[in-house]
């Protein structure tokens, strides 16, 4: 396939969203090689705990082994092919046992036992041959508890891959008095009838809220005016934010980095209420007031770790994007406890997620709708090219320590940046993508 024909400097061909062939190639060249988020180590606190999820279309199991190490292997019994662990979290006492013929495996995936072993004499079967053990994924790496894996032996080093957005993961954890975070409260799962890239593009797209979310911010304002004399409690404050005027959005900063990553600065702050003060005190008690202020001064909305996840550092949300097919995407939303912070702060995290990220969110539903409308429109012959022109050519190298590019808040820089990495991966490169604007 000629990948180059699909990408221009500020436009992409609709085939990147609707072609089965492109999707299949993405699963191979992007999800088959990039560092993909698998899970957080707090989901498997003890040896024998496991978390079953997907990397691209591959079912994988993340386990904690006897020496506390994290293993990730394909969820496929080497005997007949049955999956050996069900989806979600579970625990096993020291070994995995296939439900079909009871082959057993150690927590690191090594074959331990096979029934009717006598019958394997004089065959090419060998208990110690790795091909009869659970197959490990090629590379596993973690940063501050966030576990990623790559299905390819070769490719970018994890440290290099993460470099641009490492500061977001640091801030995610530094906000905890103990310096660590833990998954808490369950997981929301939302299905979108659209290509996975459409969701990624939306995460740092500040051009859409005023139009897309009009019904929800008007609904919140109507209630505030009719019942609360204009006051906006936390839940309404979150919803109202999408209706901020155009200048508010263009005054934000967008930062873009190699490998398709980016982040935007915060849309709104946590309220200055007794809970926030109590939380600040708990953080300051551990790290000192100055450091606590510095940590909370880093205030970001969505960070994008392309092509698999998006942390929201200020409200402890973590969205994982799992492509299902060319026009179906699963988004999983995790919430995190800041270890050592007051319980009420976690409750506010849940409230935030209930309003914004639940399948029943009155905000997200209009997003999911317009994504599906894009998918339908792009499937027509109404035009081959998709515009990414907004503020193209105007992004500047960022002089701060993180490097990368900076653009005005309403630039389509993050989208162009994602497609630079996409182009690099799809051309069988490492995903590292030097922007034409920077060069």
């Amino acid at each position: 396939m000629d990948i180059d024909r699909l990408i221009k400097k500020d436009e992409v061909h609709r085939d990147v969203y609707v072609s089965e062939e492109v999707f299949s190639l993405e699963m191979d060249r992007i999800f088959g090689s990039a560092w993909i988020y698998v899970g957080h180590d707090s989901q498997i606190p003890n040896p024998g705990d496991y978390w079953t999820t997907r990397i691209g279309l591959q079912s994988v199991v993340m386990t904690r082994g006897k020496r506390d190490e994290i293993n990730i292997f394909y969820n496929r019994c080497p005997h007949k092919g049955a999956r050996i662990a069900e989806e979600g979290c579970g625990h096993t006492n020291g070994l995995f046992r296939c439900p079909y013929h009871a082959w057993t495996f150690n927590l690191d995936g090594k074959l331990r036992g096979v029934p009717y072993l006598d019958g394997y004499q004089d065959t090419s079967f060998d208990l110690t041959d790795p091909r009869f053990s659970l197959r490990k994924v090629a590379r596993v790496a973690a940063y501050r508890g966030f576990v990623f894996a790559s299905l390819a032996e070769d490719g970018a080093e994890f440290e290099d891959f993460l470099a641009g957005v490492k500061s977001s993961l640091d801030n995610f954890c530094d906000r905890a008095p103990e310096g660590t975070v833990s998954v808490a409260g369950g997981v929301f799962r939302v299905v979108q009838r659209s290509n996975w890239k459409i969701f990624f593009e939306n995460l740092n797209d500040t051009g859409h809220p005023i139009a897309t979310h009009e019904s929800s911010y008007r609904a919140a304002r109507q209630y505030s005016e009719e019942v609360l004399d204009g006051e906006l409690p936390f839940e309404l404050h979150i919803i109202d934010g999408n209706g901020a005027p155009p200048k508010f959005w263009s005054d934000l900063d967008l930062h873009a980095f190699d490998y398709g990553h980016s982040y935007m600065t915060a849309i709104f702050n946590a309220p200055d209420d007794p809970l926030s003060q109590q939380y600040f005190a708990s953080l300051a008690a551990k790290v000192g007031e100055d450091r606590a202020e510095d940590i909370l001064a880093v205030n970001r909305h969505n960070t994008i770790i392309y092509p698999s996840c998006s942390p929201h550092t200020s409200f402890q949300q973590w969205r994982v994007i799992r492509p299902l097919s060319v026009d179906r995407t699963l988004v999983e939303i995790f919430t995190f406890r800041l270890d050592g912070a007051p319980d009420e702060l976690l409750q506010r995290t849940f409230t935030y997620s209930n309003v914004v990220n639940s399948p029943s969110s009155i905000v997200m539903t209009d997003d999911v709708h317009v994504y599906a409308e894009c998918q339908k429109g792009l499937s027509t012959q109404g035009g081959d090219w998709v515009s990414q022109h907004r503020n193209a050519g105007q992004d500047q190298p960022y002089s701060g320590s993180e490097g990368g590019l900076i653009g005005v808040g309403t630039s389509e820089l993050p989208i162009r940046n994602q497609f630079r990495a996409w182009h690099e991966y799809m051309s069988e490169g490492s995903g590292q993508s030097v922007s034409p604007e920077a060069s």
Binding site: S215, N354, V370
Partner: protein
Amino acid sequence: MTSVNPQPINSASDISYEMVCHFLYREARLLDQRKFTEWDNLFAEQGMYWIPLIEDQPDPINHLSLAYEDSMMRQVRINRLNHDRAWSQKPRSRTSHMVSAIVIEKICDETNRLVVGSAFQMAEWRSFGLRTFAGLYTHTLVVSDGHLKIGEKRVDLIDSGEAFEPIEVFI
């Protein structure tokens, strides 16, 4: 509700099984008729609408919920459903509820409360087709100013942990 409760209700034990059934059927019918404000008026002042995320979820505060809405959040949802630019409501949701197996599980005269269990199915038509929700309702009903009101409506979906397309109307 005057047609259902011609006599003022003084305590939980004044409430007959038939009145409870009628209350639940009427509640479901108001939703299916999109009379959301009338539906919302069935709730007591502090009444909550709750869809837990997991089976046997003990509490709505220390865990995520598919929905946990007080009067404010229900009214904001209603405002949105009535807004011209609720894009995902074009065409708007149409629903049909079936409520059955209604059982009065508990009556408490001291607090004037009843706990009522039932099974339900809700079919919903959206632009992407027809889908079904199924599960158990647990209504905590309270007697307030001579009327039956909803203290809490708990909706336990049998597939609450499933991946969903957006849920917009009340179940």
